[in-house]
């Protein structure tokens, strides 16, 4: 068995312990709803994720999915337990492990092009930086909007732009925290398709995708991780071997869907 890309070793989070204070200006990470109340949010989570995998993390809202993702990103530290990436312990955010937020993480005071260029600061020549930013925007089907400000775009376009910024950082790992949950259904379907295309294109990028949309997870991932209700533990892990294009109505996938609903304690026949 090959060495795993991400190794999560008995990570436990109790509220009040996972606040990072080191970075200048970063006084406090935003406490997510699941961290409130002085209780155990994540309990003894151990996982291994392989290079190039697309792994979805499913669970009830408030079960600590985002908290886990933020720990992997290095934004917060677990109360106990450790995370290793490529054999190195995670001690803080890194430019090759890029986090994609749910919404509104583009800098609203910069144009779309400037936002993407923020991830290209190592390119010294301004014109080259600009053309590179345009390339990344084209990758997510956004063209001709680089001089617009984020407020001028729709939610879906903003999310595309954020993905473009993340890709511009040439990530080794993409950590996506419910990236499409603020969008309308049709836009989500479009972005789902594009996400798959990106995953196929960027074979070497490992993607962790937090969602509560089971269909989204079924259609995109190589593996599903289902977390239980808080204190969240790994309830079950399911591999999906069905090749793309995947038809959600097929027998395999509908069985799997029913199985996941069962694990989440949801009755589908009511």
């Amino acid at each position: 068995m090959s060495k795993s890309k991400i190794k999560i070793d008995r990570v436990t989070v109790e509220y009040g312990n996972n606040v990072k204070r080191s970075w200048f200006g970063l006084r406090k990470t935003q406490p997510s709803p699941c961290e409130v109340g002085g209780r155990v949010v994540l309990k003894d989570i151990s996982l291994e994720i392989q290079h190039g995998e697309f792994v979805s993390i499913l669970g009830h809202s408030g079960c600590g999915k985002s908290t886990l993702l933020k720990i992997i990103a290095g934004f917060s530290t677990p109360s106990t337990g450790k995370v290793w990436i490529d054999g190195e312990e995670v001690v803080g955010p890194r430019p090759d492990h890029v986090f994609v937020f749910q919404e509104g993480a583009l800098f609203p005071w910069l144009t779309i092009g400037e936002n993407v260029a923020m991830a290209l600061r190592s390119v010294k020549d301004a014109r080259e930086r600009q053309s590179k930013a345009q390339e990344y925007l084209a990758l997510v089907a956004l063209e001709g909007v680089e001089n617009y400000y984020p407020y001028m775009l729709s939610g879906g376009m903003k999310q595309r732009a954020e993905i473009a910024r993340a890709l511009a950082a040439q990530p080794d790992i993409l950590l996506m925290d419910e990236p499409f949950s603020g969008l309308d259904h049709l836009t989500r379907l479009h972005l789902r398709e594009e996400m798959l295309y990106l995953h196929i294109m960027l074979k070497d990028t490992t993607i962790l995708f937090v969602t509560h949309d089971i269909d989204e997870a079924l259609q995109l991932s190589n593996r599903l991780i289902i977390l239980s209700e808080p204190p969240a533990q790994v309830k079950c892990v399911r591999s999906i071997k069905v090749p793309h294009p995947r038809n959600l109505a097929s027998e395999d996938l509908s069985d799997l869907r029913a199985n996941i609903y069962h694990h989440l304690g949801v009755h589908t026949a009511i």
Partner: protein, 231 residues
């Protein structure tokens, strides 16, 4: 009734007198000279306050510990009227522009500081996570995150504060100087020329209106407008 409005009463100068006084003060250059003097004092005192309060406010807004230590002192000094500093202003700076500048500085400094602290402290932490993720240096986060994020709050504070300092210049000029619109008022009062007083008051009002108009123009800048467009 209409006649007394035109020609005035014992306690209120009439329109005719005011127009004549205005003509007189405009013709002999006094009005222009005094307006320029007042604007000069406001500009200098205001700029000094802004130059000091904005960087300090950004620092305090982002460094909670320093803010907690200094906040009691700030909140203690803030409610003391700038005019209460007049005796010390004269003692420390003597006669001339300096004590007036000091009073305007005091009046502008605290509102500017407090607004900047608030703007800097309320930047959404997500932007700093993005900045940390993209490995911004300290200066890059100041330049690309903190400053632009605070700019709308600072511009609004500039507008409010400029109004305050224009209000205070009149009081500041009632001491220790021999020019300015505040001096014109106190000098006219001593000479019982209420028509001059009204001319000075109208000039102050009109200039206040113009200053506010120019400040609203600032709020239309590209670097500030994103704030208004967000819900």
């Amino acid at each position: 009734m209409v006649g007394s409005l035109w020609s005035g009463t014992e306690h209120l100068p009439g329109i005719q007198q005011i127009l004549e006084a205005f003509w007189e003060l405009a013709n002999n250059g006094v009005l222009l000279r005094y307006t320029v003097a007042s604007l000069f004092r406001v500009t200098v005192g205001f700029y000094l306050a802004v130059l000091l309060a904005v960087p300090l406010g950004l620092l305090l807004g982002r460094q909670a510990l320093i803010h907690q230590c200094t906040n009691p002192v700030i909140q203690f000094l803030r409610p003391i009227s700038p005019l209460a500093w007049i005796p010390f202003a004269m003692l420390w700076f003597g006669i001339g522009d300096k004590p007036a500048l000091f009073i305007i500085f005091i009046a502008s400094f605290f509102p500017m500081l407090i607004s900047t602290v608030k703007a800097a402290a309320s930047i959404h932490p997500m932007y700093f996570q993005v900045a940390a993720n993209l490995q911004f240096s300290v200066w890059e986060s100041v330049y690309y995150v903190i400053l632009p994020a605070c700019l709308p709050g600072i511009v609004l504070a500039l507008r409010v504060t400029l109004g305050v300092s224009w209000m205070v210049v009149v009081a500041a000029e009632m001491i220790a100087v021999k020019s300015g619109l505040g001096y014109l008022i106190i000098d006219a009062r001593n000479a019982l020329r209420l028509d001059y007083v009204v001319v000075a008051m109208i000039t102050i009002g009109v200039i206040g209106l113009l200053l506010d108009y120019f400040m609203t123009k600032l709020e239309g800048m590209e670097a500030v407008r994103w704030r208004l467009e967000q819900k």
